[in-house]
């Protein structure tokens, strides 16, 4: 077999890999440092340190972040729970609905145009309404808006994954006298997994946005969005920026966590592995 690929042959020792990782990341780290420096020495002095507090030093964002860390992290956790609850409910429901729509094509044909149209609706505009329905102080008012936000990208991507199976892959299963259920279990769902994760990643970003913006329209004093709002109205800009930092860290962590789950769930996928042997 002369065409034999050598999958794991050219793997470098661990030390070499760490060095290469570092080299890959170095440009990004340099840009990060330059950005912080520009903020500290160019943008903040230009805008005035009152409107755009410096990242470091006296009355800076990091100082506010440190002093207010307990309040901010507990507010962050409160808001994150709203985001997570809505994300889980919205995404879970979306996957179930997608399976139903893929299984019964007639229902899918009737509902899909509306799902796609709804995907283009600025759902966050409904936030004041859900606040009115469930009460602004009730976390459920934010979970509902987050759930609706997460629902459509997950639905559309899952449905695409379930239905974008090559016809021959289905014919193969039929040649084994496979039932529709077996085709779903062994072909459609595994085929959909990479698409589902695309939807979940989009949804994870929307979840944090939805929860925080929902809180801008009113919410518990323990909520991060309310903290940001209040700090700004009291002209405590360093605290507002520190709160935004907490929101960013949580958002990035959430997105990254989805990526980790994705890698574990679809470790077979070419994109999750190193270079393909050819």
């Amino acid at each position: 077999m002369t065409t034999a690929p050598t999958p794991a042959a050219a793997r470098s020792p661990p030390a070499g890999r760490v060095l290469r990782r570092l080299r890959d990341w170095l440009p990004a780290l340099v840009v990060f440092a330059l950005g912080l420096a520009a903020w500290q020495y160019v943008f903040s002095p230009l805008a005035g340190k009152f409107l755009l507090p410096k990242p470091f030093g006296h009355r800076s964002v990091t100082q506010a972040f440190w002093e207010q860390r307990h309040v901010l992290w507990s507010a962050g956790w409160f808001t994150f729970q709203e985001a997570l609850g809505g994300f889980a409910a919205g995404s879970g429901l979306a996957i179930l609905v997608a399976i139903v729509l893929a299984r019964w094509k007639r229902v899918g044909g009737a509902l899909m145009p509306y799902a796609i149209a709804a995907n283009a609706v600025p759902i966050i505009a409904f936030a004041p309404i859900t606040n009115a329905w469930f009460g602004a102080l009730n976390p459920r008012s934010k979970m509902v808006i987050v759930g609706v936000l997460c629902f459509f990208p997950v639905l559309v991507n899952t449905l695409r994954g379930l239905t974008s199976v090559p016809p021959a892959a289905i014919e193969l299963m039929r040649s084994y006298a496979a039932s529709e259920v077996a085709i779903f279990r062994r072909v459609r769902i595994p085929n959909a997994l990479p698409h589902i994760f695309v939807g979940l990643r989009v949804a994870s970003v929307l979840a944090m946005i939805g929860a925080i913006v929902g809180e801008y329209f009113g919410g518990s004093i323990q909520a991060l969005g309310v903290q940001i709002e209040n700090s700004v109205s009291l002209f405590m800009f360093p605290v507002a920026w520190a709160a935004i930092m907490v929101a960013s860290i949580l958002g990035i962590a959430f997105y990254t966590a989805i990526g980790v789950v994705e890698r574990l769930a679809i470790s077979w996928h070419p994109s999750a592995r190193g270079a393909r042997a050819e």
Binding site: P5, P7, P166, A169, R174, S175, Y176, A177, W268, P270
Partner: protein, 273 residues
């Protein structure tokens, strides 16, 4: 449609098979064909002659509009439910989320074989297609030729009496294709299965087959059948023998006559003959 299935000797028996697609295209018209056990029959013809459709009709993946399809002495539908055939497509159709071993074992899983029995059978098949050592690889780590060998191993895994192959080597380069042709003949000899093979390569059809079924297009029908009397077993050298070239010429001329028939038909239909 209501002729009783006969337990004849033929592995595949087609009588008056016609397929008209929804749009009104007649893909197949009045196909009669009998394929005996152990035969290697190639279907060859211009694109659009319905050769892939015919293969799918045999596999009960497409229902004919008219005519009888008997496979292994049963109706094609029952033969599919009984898993009487294995199928290989132009694309290997391997599932990326399964390793090579698990792709090969897929039909065995569906038939409820237990794990140890599956493992033993997969090992045999990996040896048969010469892919020992690749059991744990994922399909995308293999070359196109290797993927197609996995696909053949999967089709053979449950030892079906009949193997349906739809241009399995059409997407491969010439050298890989010739090597896999040799391998396929070896596997055919070892397993003794009956093979129906769709191709658009005249040389491939002549080299592999015991009979070449020449089809013409629009509507798809059998224009002639060429018996291939090259001695068995055939090795690469068989491609260089004068008899091989004579048969290639014969099939080519049959293909051209098929095209000429169409012109004649058109003239008849137009009332000019």
């Amino acid at each position: 449609m209501n002729a009783a299935p006969v337990a004849g000797a033929a592995v595949v028996s087609l009588r008056g098979v016609t397929k008209v697609f929804k749009g009104g295209t007649t893909a197949l018209q009045g196909i009669d064909l009998e394929i005996q056990p152990g035969e290697f029959v190639s279907l060859i013809g211009p694109s659009g002659c319905g050769k892939s459709t015919l293969l799918r009709v045999v596999g009960d993946l497409i229902q004919p509009s008219e005519g009888d399809v008997i496979v292994n002495g049963k109706r094609a539908h029952q033969a599919r439910l009984d898993r009487d055939y294995g199928i290989v497509f132009q694309d290997a159709v391997l599932y990326d989320w399964r390793t090579v071993a698990k792709n090969i074992a897929l039909p065995l899983e569906m038939m409820g074989w237990d794990r140890s029995r599956r493992r033993g059978r997969v090992q045999e098949l990996l040896e048969l297609v010469e892919l020992q050592g690749f059991a744990g690889h994922h399909p995308w780590q293999l070359s196109g030729g290797m993927q197609q060998r996995v696909s053949i191993a999967r089709a053979l895994s449950f030892s079906p009496a009949l193997l349906l192959m739809d241009e399995p080597f059409g997407a491969l380069d010439e050298m890989t294709r010739e090597r896999l042709n040799n391998e396929l003949l070896r596997i055919w000899a070892e397993t003794g299965s009956t093979i129906v093979f769709v191709t658009h390569s005249i040389a491939e059809a002549v080299f592999l087959s015991t009979r070449v079924v020449v089809m013409s297009a629009r509507p798809g029908r059998i224009s002639s059948i060429v018996g291939i009397d090259l001695p068995q077993p055939r090795l690469t050298e068989a491609r260089e023998e004068p008899r091989f070239f004579e048969l290639v010429t014969e099939v080519r001329e049959a293909l051209q006559r098929g095209g000429a028939d169409r012109v004649t038909d058109a003239l008849i239909a137009g009332g000019e003959l």
